[in-house]
């Protein structure tokens, strides 16, 4: 097993507001970590800090991804190293087709490794296959990114992208929010098919629901920007029954 992510005493702000107050977290290859916590506890900020969102500022600590500190890296470099963020509310990009968007990303990553661009026809065939992972309507791939997509279609699109990018670490920011039971099952099963012994998942969620489908190795409870409790999957059930107040 290798260290994939090693976060040490991470403090971060958005604007004037301190959101993360010293996060420590270690993720090794093949592991699934779930982060749960009440609204405003800093779950999405943690995801955004790791992905390099420009509005999040790290003021202390570090986050080593495959041994390299993410903090000083541009967002695109993090992606090129194998980090992937599935967005809770991904942006709409009018005029940029989803397939072109993914191809531009894949080619940018390949160029960063001095590899040639993908073959366009081969890539088209490959993404059609990847869309099947989450039973996504292949017509959507030819449309502008997220434009006019339903909430569920956006989530499917994010997981399809995860399948295309094959990241070493995927951070999934509430991939379950706004999904009905059937869609949740499809998305969760899609995520499961993408798990290997070499990659890892950091799954941010509000509810225990998705953890019935994606079994976490560790569950962490985030409150006020700090991990206050860690445990195995039974912790999620406990939170479901008792809420966060007892922690």
């Amino acid at each position: 097993m290798n260290n994939i992510l090693d976060i040490h005493s991470l403090h971060a702000t958005i604007g004037e507001k301190k959101i993360l107050n010293g996060i420590d977290l270690k993720i090794q290859s093949g592991e699934v970590h779930a982060i749960m916590g009440p609204n405003g506890s800093g779950k999405s900020t943690l995801a955004n800090v790791l992905a390099g969102h420009p509005s999040c500022k790290v003021i202390d600590g570090n986050a080593l991804f495959l041994g390299q500190d993410l903090v000083s890296l541009e967002p695109e470099v993090r992606a090129q190293l194998g980090l992937f963020l599935s967005f809770q509310n991904p942006a709409e990009i009018p005029g940029v087709r989803l397939d072109h968007f993914m191809r531009a990303g894949i080619n940018a990553i390949r160029r960063s490794k001095n590899q040639d661009d993908v073959d366009i026809l081969g890539f088209d065939r490959a993404i059609t296959k990847k869309a099947e992972v989450v039973s996504m309507d292949p017509q959507l791939i030819k449309r502008s990114v997220n434009e006019g997509f339903s909430g569920g279609e956006k989530k499917r699109s994010e997981i399809m992208q995860m399948a295309v990018f094959e990241p070493t670490l995927a951070i999934l920011d509430e991939p379950d929010s706004g999904l009905d039971v059937d869609a949740l099952k499809i998305v969760a099963e899609g995520i499961n098919t993408l798990r290997t012994k070499d990659n890892s998942l950091l799954l941010i969620t509000h509810y225990n629901r998705i953890l019935n489908y994606i079994e976490p190795d560790f569950v962490h409870i985030l409150i006020n920007g700090k991990i206050v409790h860690s445990g195995d999957k039974t912790l999620a059930q406990e939170v479901e029954n008792k809420g966060y107040d007892w922690l």
Binding site: A51, G52, H53, P54, E74, P75, E76, R78, A79, Q80, F84, L85, F87, P90, A91, E92, I93, P94, G95, V96, F101, M102, A104, G105, I106, A108, I109, S112, S144, V145, Q161, F165
Partner: protein, 444 residues
């Protein structure tokens, strides 16, 4: 109130000009020139004075200082041509007509040409001569339009494109309107008349290029008549020198069940003003007017578009998009007129702007003059910056920031480009737009 900046400013220039033109002009053209001269002199340069809505946002005072010293007449020097974006291959064109500093220098035309040189008697057939007399300077309303009057006073050889009834031209006719004068303050007056007969189809590319860095005024007048059941696809691409003033006055008459489609791409010029007046003359006429302007530094572009729905069951679609960087400024003034009795008109207009800098400014002003019930009119205007959340989204997929920005800017422009049906022209305009966008993104 009429204001004359300099009384009889052009008398002297005209008397010089007339020494040559009088040898060529038929009598009817001589009288048109004289009338226009009177109008130009009495109007003077338009000013941004109070109440002059048309020129409220565009100040052209500077023209008086630097221009009007040298009017292009009939002598032309050939200059080498270099183009830094993909050029049109001659074999994909029906015909290419070249203007140099406002004067049509194509003197001989190919066998199947539909073009003749206005005022060149050796070339013009009796039928074409009739078309000229019927329409030249009949479409453009000169009374309130200084620049159109100036052009009509001083135009030299122009181009008459006459396409008879039942004629289908598949390849485009390309007008290459080139500025190369080395003399500061040159005024060029390109003149184009397009007459499309009944049941005919044609494509026109009107391209403005510059091979000089001097200050000049390119002051074009284009008049277009589209006969019953005919279609005209009209593409204008303007890449004048960054020092230049580029003014166009275009008037289009659309007859019954005829269709006019215009795609205007403006990337050059220091001050650009396009007046486009489209009139649906008969029932069933329709128009689609698309435009894209990309400006930076201190460029100023002003589009005044009037669609006059004079008849019932006519429709129009209008979409202009602007990309502004640096200290540039755009003005879009779109008027839609629906005349009395013009029922079932369907008109829609939109102007959208993408501001890449805090110092750029876009003024957009829609105006509706509706004198009839039972019509459908809509408009939209938008002005915004690049969506930073979309930039981050692209970056999170491995795409470097600069590439992400250019993808979004290009996508904004592409709404116009993807609408161009002809693949060959679409690629050409795409390369034209790309050329400017690359410059714009580099400077940032």
């Amino acid at each position: 109130m009429k204001e004359t900046t300099i009384p009889n400013q052009f008398e002297k220039t005209f008397s010089e000009f007339e020494k040559i033109s009088s040898k060529i002009d038929p009598e009817w053209v001589k009288s048109i020139r004289k009338e226009s001269l009177l109008i130009a002199n009495s109007l003077g340069l338009p000013t941004a004075r109070r109440g002059n809505e048309e020129w409220k946002y565009t100040d052209i005072k500077a023209l008086n200082k630097t221009l009007f010293s040298d009017f292009s007449t009939y002598n032309i020097d050939d200059k080498p041509i270099e183009i830094n974006y993909k050029n049109l291959e001659d074999d994909s064109l029906h015909e290419k007509i070249v203007f140099k500093d406002g004067i049509c220098i194509s003197k001989t035309f190919q066998k199947d040409s539909y073009v003749s040189n206005i005022l060149n008697d050796n070339d013009i057939s009796p039928e074409n001569s009739n078309q000229l007399r019927n329409y030249l300077a009949k479409l453009t309303i000169l009374d309130e339009n200084f620049f159109a009057a100036l052009n009509t006073t001083f135009f030299s050889f122009g181009a008459l494109i006459y396409i008879p009834d039942n004629t289908n031209i598949t390849k485009p006719i390309h007008l290459s309107i080139e500025s190369s004068s080395q003399s500061e303050g040159n005024v060029a007056n390109p003149r184009i008349l397009v007459v499309l007969g009944k049941n005919s189809n044609a494509t026109l590319i009107e391209e403005y290029l510059s091979f000089t860095n001097t200050k000049y005024l390119n002051n074009a007048v284009i008049e277009i008549i589209i006969g019953e059941n005919s279609n005209l696809n009209h593409y204008r691409m303007q890449n004048e020198s960054i020092e230049s003033y580029a003014i166009t006055n275009t008037t289009v008459w659309i007859e019954s069940y005829a269709h006019y489609e215009s795609t205007v791409t403006d990337i050059g010029g220091s001050l650009v003003r396009n007046n486009l007046n489209v009139i649906t003359k008969q029932e069933g006429a329709s128009a689609k007017l698309n435009g894209i302007y990309i400006v930076d530094e201190k460029q100023h572009i002003d589009n005044q578009v009037i669609i006059d729905h004079a008849m019932p069951n006519t429709n129009s679609r209008e979409l202009y998009k602007g990309i502004l960087s640096g200290h540039s400024r755009s003005v879009f003034h779109g008027s839609i007129i629906v005349r009395e009795g013009a029922y079932k008109v369907d008109a829609n207009q939109a102007d959208k702007n993408l501001l890449l800098s805090d110092n750029a400014e876009a003024d957009t002003k829609p105006a509706f003059w509706v004198y009839c019930d039972d019509v459908k009119c809509g408009h939209g205007a938008a002005c915004g910056k690049i969506d930073e959340s979309a930039i981050f989204y692209l970056q999170s997929r491995g795409i470097p920031e600069i590439q992400a920005r250019s993808m979004l800017i290009y996508a904004f422009a592409n709404e116009i480009i993807k609408d161009i049906k002809d693949e060959f022209i679409r690629e050409y305009i795409e390369s034209f737009v790309q050329y400017k966008l690359e410059k714009l993104i580099e400077i940032r």
